[in-house]
Amino acid sequence: MTDQANGAAVQTQGLTKIYKDFWGRPKVTALQDLNLTIHRGEVFGLLGPNGSGKSTTIKLLLGLIFPSRGSAHVLGQPAGNTVINERIGFLPEESYLYKFLNGEETLRFYGKLFKIPHKELNKRVPLLLDKVGLDEPSRKRKLREYSKGMARRIGLAQALINDPDLILLDEPTTGLDPIGTREMKDLIVSLKKQGKTVILCSHLLADVQDVCDRITILFKGRMQTLGEVRDLLQVKDITQIEARGLNREQIDQVRQFMSRMGAGNAAITHPTTTLEDLFIRIVRENTPMNDAYSGGAERARPAGGFPVASGSSSSSPSSSNGNNA
């Protein structure tokens, strides 16, 4: 284990997963040479269309599957080590929980797996249920009677039962109403404030853009981009100037001035694109022409049903006043 690995929440080196058929012949390369470091205390977004390798990455980090090549360290320990599971919380894509238990029993069961003392569980379970917004009657109902949103909430509660240092959230807002989505985002932000590391895997790009410090976009098992959200979304070849209190005449004069030299107190920045545009551009750039993601199939739903938004792949200024440079 390297020093770097000690400091990182997650570190992978050449992480590769090749699925094989019955006879051991390679069938699909789900993930190839992933070199990734996720720092402690950051909210990290793992993005990519269906089949891009993000679920495989999560499964590898949790030890649900084993790497074909390379290594993965989580909180300084090899991935899959049950010792580090003490400090990990995981919300799966769907709430894969025992349907015959009720909400409270579910949390108690998972709490016991962490050997949380009975007294502590008595305190923690109601608090968590309050936190995720499950009311008293809901707590006594069997999970099979839960709506999708309620199932997400109890799923989130079980992921937090051990007060984890690292939380992996796979599509956390799926099935939640707008208020629930907002609460989930607030929760992620509050977790970050508590110094927790959050790995977020989501198709709802606006959510990711709102809460993530850094993101990576995976496509066809390879990492396509990695960086801070703000940096990745900047359109570097365009400069944007912002100024307060100018009338139309003055604006004309500024324009004339700007055409000659420059001006004081003027905000000059690059406009940012949306994460959605960035995502689509990366997918297109890496997709062959005859692929469903390309050309005239802009509004088509490619395999896996990932929605492709309309509009140009070029920058789309986010300036609110519409004063494009």
Binding site: L64, Y96, Y98, F109
Partner: protein, 718 residues
């Protein structure tokens, strides 16, 4: 692969190989998951087991128990028991059988489906991403379903107990009614009275005899001879430990010679029945009249053969040489000689005397047959010389040294030198000859019935039960007697003659006390209870003499035909022990099911579990093929193609080896004897509880470790 194993595997796999395999599996488990063993947490296992238990309950698995109860009640009502005890026996059997079936099927399905379903619906994601190790998951699931089966058995056990109690109370009332209306002389009164006194729901602990011998008359201390009767009704088995030197390849000429000294007594002329039985004439259409005929028995003859330890013939009478009468066969063929099927005892003149016979085993059979007997650690081979007195109306007496044996080998000069052979020893004591009755078709020793007490052969059961204590406040001790009665064709078929009278007498070796004769009338294959004086059994070292006193009725005796009721136990406790054995069976089912479900889908896991559970039993039922050569002849005829026959015999032989090898590594479910004792009202011994536990330890534990290893190496994300 299995072909290769069959071709290369030895015919007999040593017993310790199984232990080596178990040790290797344990080591494998430790090598793969030592860290998981270190992190082992009973709290987590209990939590996982609780979920499995709760899942079973909420899947309404207990709903099958009322169905089983209705089934038991229905079947009990339709059954036709012979008597009250049989009714209770059958009901007990149905209750335990239904409980077993319900629990085994329920746990089989629950345990086989649990893991594959959790992997399929991905619930396993939220378990393995918690600190629970896969060892804890396997153990937790096993414990969970074991708890489920325990609950089911508790429900079924409570029902069985209450149902049996109600039935027993009704039957007890019926017994009381029968006793009131039954004549005092009724032969079944004793047994009924026993049930009336002791109740029908019992758990008795029996003291069983150490040995059974069958004689012409009861041997007394100081007697010079021990007497048997002729007409091939009885025989004597004399053990010998054949020395290693006898099989020395440098002495192919070695012979084995037996010297037999027998006293004979022919005190009376033959009876009418004996004459009729002695004069079979296959060509006669009618039997000659025996009215007024007085005929004395012929000259005493015996038949001799050699048996192995399991009483199977190794060298038959036709292969043994009657040395004293070799001149009776006039032929130049050296391979033809006077055999030992009917050996005349020489030296007897008159109606009593001592006769002699010399029997030799030709070198050919020493090398071919006797050498094939497995040798003991000291190189000796155990054989029994079987001597069967043949002459009707004659008693044959065997003294202490009636039979001696010697190996005759040539010395350096070529001169034959006899080397005496000693009887083998067991626990420091020489093995004594045993006297046996003729074996019936059910392998019981026959005891001929005779209304004349002096003529009736006697079966002697020797008890050595030092801890035997008679019930407090009672002058009698209860005995159980169970026999198979056979009636000869000559027996009259009147009502009175259909009853078999058996006379029983106790002789106490310590006090010299002889009890008065106790007469009982046993039913065939049914327990008969009688009470004997306490003085006869005090000290525990006593004999029970059994005589059949009805002409033409043969009583079949086994060593376990007689037993003293040493103590009784509560039926409820015995039922609990039966349920514990059933529970251990269900635990084994759970372990095998979980093991199978770690690498195959649940429907295949169900089938595979059944194959593993029943495989050994099936192979035992199939048995060894009589002979591949014989089978080939049966299939293809004697003139079949030689190559085809060879392929067939090799294939059958190899298949047999594979089956036997497979059976050896599969669990022995016969060890889970649930109904055997309790239905007979016998206390279940600690041994009966220990045997299934050993199966779980020696088979279940390695399976559990393998299940863990497989799950540890399994990618649980589909």
């Amino acid at each position: 692969m299995s072909w290769l194993i069959a071709q290369t595997a030895p015919d007999s796999v040593p017993g310790y190989v199984g232990w080596i395999i178990v040790a290797l599996i344990v080591l494998l488990g430790l090598a793969v998951g030592l860290s998981d063993v270190v992190r082992f947490s009973p709290k987590r296992i209990w939590a996982i087991s609780s979920v499995g238990f709760r899942e079973s309950i909420r899947r309404r698995v207990l709903w099958v128990t009322p169905l089983a109860m209705i089934g038991i009640i229905a079947v009990t009502q339709l059954a036709h028991p012979v008597d009250e005890q049989d009714a209770i026996r059958q009901t007990t059997k149905y209750c335990l059988f239904a409980s077993g079936i319900v629990v085994v099927i329920a746990t089989l399905i629950l345990a086989c489906t649990s893991l594959p379903k959790e992997i399929d619906n991905r619930v396993i994601y939220t378990i393995v991403t918690k600190p629970a190790t896969r060892l804890e998951i396997v153990l937790g699931k096993t414990l969970g379903f074991a708890r489920t089966s325990a609950l089911m058995l508790l429900v079924m056990g409570l029902f069985s107990f209450i149902y049996l109690k109600i039935n027993a109370a009704q039957l007890q009332a019926s017994i009381q009614n029968r006793l009131q209306t039954m004549p005092a002389s009724d032969p079944s009164r004793g047994t009924l009275q026993h049930y009336a006194d002791e109740g029908l729901l019992q758990a008795r602990t029996y003291a069983r005899p150490a040995a059974l011998q069958v004689y012409a008359r009861v041997p007394r201390p100081g007697d010079k001879y021990t007497w048997t009767v002729g007409a091939a009704e009885q025989s004597i088995h004399v053990p010998f430990a054949l020395p290693e030197e006898l099989f020395d390849p440098n002495h192919p000429e070695a012979q084995l010679v037996f010297n037999i000294q027998v006293a004979t007594d022919q005190p009376r002329p033959l009876t009418r029945r004996e004459i009729e039985n002695e004069m079979p004439d296959p060509t006669a259409t009618t039997r000659p009249s025996t009215q007024g005929v007085q005929k004395w028995p012929g000259k005493p003859r015996i038949a001799v053969s050699l048996l192995n330890e399991n009483a199977n013939t190794v060298v038959s009478g036709t292969q043994l040489m009657d040395v004293m009468h070799l001149d009776q066969v006039r032929t130049k063929d050296p391979s033809v000689f006077k055999d030992a099927q009917s050996v005349l005892l020489e030296g007897i003149s008159g109606q009593s005397g001592t006769g002699r016979a010399v029997i030799a085993v030709p070198p050919k059979w020493i090398q071919e047959r006797l050498k094939a007997i497995p040798a003991a650690a000291d190189g000796t081979r155990l054989v029994y010389l079987l001597i069967t007195p043949l002459t009707t109306g004659t008693q044959f007496g065997f003294g202490a040294d009636a039979v001696t044996a010697s190996a005759v080998m040539a010395d350096a000069s070529g001169k034959p030198v006899p080397m005496p052979i000693r009887p083998p020893a067991k626990d420091g004591k020489p093995l004594e000859p045993s006297f046996r009755g003729r074996l019936s078709s059910t392998h019981a020793q026959q005891l001929r019935g005779d209304s004349d007490r002096a003529e009736a052969p006697v079966g002697v059961y020797a008890f050595h039960e030092s801890g035997l204590v008679a019930p407090a406040g009672s002058d009698t001790v209860p005995f159980e007697f169970r026999t198979k009665v056979e009636r000869s064709g000559e027996a009259e078929s009147t009502e009175a003659e259909n009853v078999t009278n058996v006379e029983l007498t106790l002789f106490n070796h310590k006090t010299g006390y002889t009890s008065p004769s106790i007469m009982i009338t046993p039913d065939s294959d049914r327990p008969t209870f009688f009470k004997a004086p306490k003085a006869g059994v005090e000290g525990g070292d006593f004999d029970l003499y059994v005589r059949s006193r009805t002409d033409g009725h043969y009583v079949g005796l086994r060593t376990n035909s007689v037993a003293v009721v040493a103590s009784t136990q509560s039926f409820a406790f015995n039922l609990v022990k039966s349920l514990v054995i059933l529970w251990m069976l269900s635990v084994l089912v759970v372990i095998i099911s979980i093991f199978c479900s770690t690498f195959v889908s649940w429907p295949i896991a169900v089938v595979l579990t059944l194959v593993i559970l029943l495989g050994r039993w099936c192979v035992v039922q199939l048995g060894d093929p009589s002979s591949p050569q014989q089978m080939a002849t049966d299939f293809f005829g004697p003139s079949a193609n030689a190559v085809g026959t060879r392929v067939f015999t090799d294939t059958v032989g190899a298949l047999n080896k594979v089956l036997n090898l497979t059976a050896k590594v599969l669990p022995d479910v016969d060890q889970f004897r649930v109904t055997e004792d309790i239905e007979r009202g016998v206390t279940i011994t600690p041994r009966a509880l220990l045997d299934p536990l050993l199966v779980i330890l020696t088979f279940g534990l390695p399976m559990l470790i393998l299940a863990y290893v497989f799950l540890r190496k399994k990618e649980v994300a589909p």
